[in-house]
Amino acid sequence: MLELQTQRQLVNLLVKLICLTVSACTTLLLLAIAAFMVAESLPVWSALGPLKIIAGTDWSPLAAPPRLGIGTMILSTLWVALGAVLLSAPLGFAGAIFLAEFAPPWLAGIIRPVLNILTGIPSVVYGFVGAAVLIKFFEVSFNMASGESLFCASLILTVMVLPYIVTNSESALRSVPREYRQAALALGVSKQYLTLRVLLPLAKKGLTGALVLAFGRAAGETMAVLMLAGNTMLLPTSWFSKGEPLSALIALELGTSVVGSAHYQALFAAGLVLLILVICINLFLTLLKRG
């Protein structure tokens, strides 16, 4: 009996140990990704200086000496992602309010799975449909030589991040304590007033979180912006100019860069910038949830 007891304890301990080890490896994997980005790009950071890379606007990796400013791409990334959040925020919030407060249950029961499907559609399909339809539309209706622009990329990203905003905002609205609703309704205000003046301010934190998350998604997206943003190295001067976001730069040039060259290292520098952006966003979200 005693033997069985110890044997069982041993199994339990072993399982716990295995679980612990594997989970610890998760953290190591994230660290490894970060470490690789740093290690592979370190030579260019120290050779050119961080300022020259981040703020530089001249990208000619094959010139001698190579000029490796990724400022243009950083600006494109920010512009595209901010634009997408700007466009999808009103739509997403309104959709979330509809789902949380106004939608009849049967309709909400249809919209929720639809949101799931929308998040699942591959980004290359969004990019393809956007490129085939939107760009044609811009070319024909505005008589442009080529319709790609940061604005087009933002439009498609709007559709792509909309489900994230709706789902997260809805759960933020739902987490407002019941008492507030009852108190407001007891005062005889309309449901619209309740939502706009009571629920929205109370759910502010969750709503901000939804927007920040959407920004992160939009900034890291590759295929849609690759197919829609136009891919030129010029500094974008307006929403309607072309640009090449960081992710598109990496996807387009990694295959042709010589391993170990300054070009190759600069692409990892671009990856590092993207990674830092995303990790900052996640740390911010965690702090938001806590504080």
């Binding site: 989970s23 699942g120 393809f128 085939a132 890291g220 295929m223 197919m227 996807a251 993207l274 990790i279």
Partner: protein, 278 residues
Amino acid sequence: MLRRCLDLLWLVLFWTAGLFILFVLAGIMGYLVLRGGPVLSWEFLTTAPRGLPLGAEGGVFPAIKGTFYLVLIAVFSAVLPGIITAVYLVEYAAPSRFRDIINLTVQCMAGIPSIVTGLFAYALFVVRMGFGISLLAGGLALGIMIFPVIVVTSRDALLAVNEQYRLVGASLGVSRWYMLVRVIFPQGLPAVISGVLLAAGYAAGATAPVMVTAAVISAGSSGSLFEPVMALPYHLYILFSQQISIERAYGTALLLVLLLLILNAVTLWLRSLKGKGA
């Protein structure tokens, strides 16, 4: 009166936003079916690309095979560590700093842009380990990408198992391991499987990591680990961006979306099974 008009206006706005979501999906699906439907045929699914430029005629069979192998490797490499991590988070880790760190890590990993994962896999698998542009490198890249998804869905699935079972188990003096294997896991299994299926769908549609680690314009996709493959999403990108054949591109896009819809349907069905299994 003004108040009432305003209220009505808001109501209309909210309804519009809600219906817009339905309209987006219906629009995309409808358009893809309209343009891609005529292309889909038995021949399209089962033959290799032909014609000049390659892909202008023929089908996408090697791309289907390639995507299948890639997803298989990704799921195989990510499923076990993913579920073990989830079990640790739910069953073993007491609320502690370490658990918080792992939760944060998983959240950060889920946010990593897929192209950065691709970049990492390129540096590690393709260059350092010398796999070259290959099925194995792409599959592992996708594995890293879907790992956090599997952790999160499995974690939530296990958390959703009724707390009563745990209490009863503990009061009967049953060991944690026994509880996990005989009670909690069978209860949570349908949700865990549906999470894995969703992750598989995510991997099947991912283009950026595959584009830099595994995919080429034309390959036999024989399933050999160290050879490059074709992949459906990359094939779609190439068909469109090289202007090879817009019709075939619509067909490929429709195929990808149909695949996703099927996975979603299976997932919904599995979720409805929840609780009957034990």
